[in-house]
Amino acid sequence: MGSVLILGGGITGIQAAFNLSQLGIETTLVEREEELGGNLKNLGSTFPEGKQASDLIENKVKKIRSSQKATILTGAELSSITGESPNFKASLKTSKGTQEVESESIIVATGFKPFDPTSMKHYGFGQYEDVITALYLARMIKDGELVRSSNGKEPASVTFIQCIGSRDLRTHTYCSCFCCMYAVHLATVIKEKYPQCMLNILYMDIRTPFCAELNYEEARRRGVKFYRSKPARVRANEGNKHLTIQFEDTLDGELRFLNTELVVLSIGASPPDGTDSLASSLKIDCEESGFFKCEQSPVFTSVKGVFIAGSASGPKDISSCLAEGSAAAAQAAILLKE
């Protein structure tokens, strides 16, 4: 029986490798970073379920490692990929030199890259230390601390600005799908741990589908304040004592100047570096958004034996990534059986 090559060791790739190893199919899981887990490994608890991200990753990785059929290659950069189903040949650069991997099919699970907000100058990112990304905040909370970079003290107030690098013609036109969910989740987690901390979320539309709607409700119940607005700008005041967010509250048309000690930019998702070149070597298409294009139904591409799963075809939440990781594994297994 043939083998499957999985590109990307985030939660999607891990799920696919986990399922394929359960089926006894030979699998190679390739990750270019030194550690498995992708973007998920930066989170403490997940949204909307509130499970521990590390448990989600480690339990499955342990099972993959114990399987005789799976090989995990970390710190491995794909240098070329040739051939067609069922004879793909991939060449990988690792710390131990070049390694060749042959496979019958490929699962592309390259995920997303967090949006870099440097270009959004009016929000002061890179200019003021206390304007941080939600990813940075998530890492802080995971490490069990919440401090302002400017003075190392706990902030008295934290304000999230939504849709940074999402639904914006100058950056990405699409909705990144998960930012509302993580912002509501992080705000609730902070409120729980630091009840004195004032929490605000500045949003255009809150998109918390299905059970995440309950998290939204819970956040409001706990006193997180929601303002419907995309702010005009963020400025530092009184010798960096606090930041002032200038915005129009679109629900009552009032211009407001909200003082806050920490501004959190809820960044969206960009296609990861190298998506274009991988698409051309696999002869698959990309969407206008820059993410890989699925053909007709999820996980399928225009090329036989090449499947796409998770955020590689556009930003997705964790449970969708798990579902697509499993779906791609099933399709790859079906093809091997044919």
Partner: protein
């Protein structure tokens, strides 16, 4: 009134529906800060809804600073929509009296303020040449073609 059928003439497109009313325009508007009755976001919404009040004087408060134009995440060009509204208002004779008066003066003497006797005296003492009422033929033509003379 419903400006949508005329939008292509004034705005170049009738596609204003990308606006999701986020308020970035109004939040950064230097006029709104001091004259809250001027709200760019609300003007865009009223145009989309086909309910813009062209007799509203606050439409004319825009200073054309272009902040809303620069920051709009959907590139709706709110400034141009405000101008579409004022252009249409002017043609319908709905412009404020002050705007109409300025245009009357330009059409009458070729300048945006009348030549006063004080100005004449001052120029004489300073040895500057005398000012003359002189409306250029080009300006008359522009006023006629654009409908400027009609809106008065």
């Amino acid at each position: 009134m419903d400006l949508r059928p005329e939008l292509k003439d004034y705005y170049g497109t009738d596609n204003v529906y990308a606006c999701y009313q986020c308020g970035t325009c109004t939040g950064g508007c230097p006029v709104h800060r001091y004259l809250p009755e001027y709200n760019v976001r609300q003007i865009v919404k009223d145009i989309i809804d086909g309910e813009i009040d062209l007799s509203d004087k606050s439409l004319w408060y825009c200073t054309t600073c272009y902040i809303c134009y620069e920051r709009c995440p959907q590139q709706v060009k709110p400034l141009y929509l405000v101008q579409a509204a004022t252009n249409s208002a002017f043609k319908k004779g709905l412009a404020p009296e002050s705007i109409k008066e300025m245009n009357r003066i330009v059409l009458k003497c070729g300048r945006n303020s009348e030549i006063t006797s004080i100005a004449k005296k001052q120029r004489k003492t300073l040895g500057l040449p005398e000012l003359k009422e002189n409306v250029s033929e080009d300006y008359k033509k522009i006023a006629e073609l654009t409908g400027l003379s009609k809106g008065l």
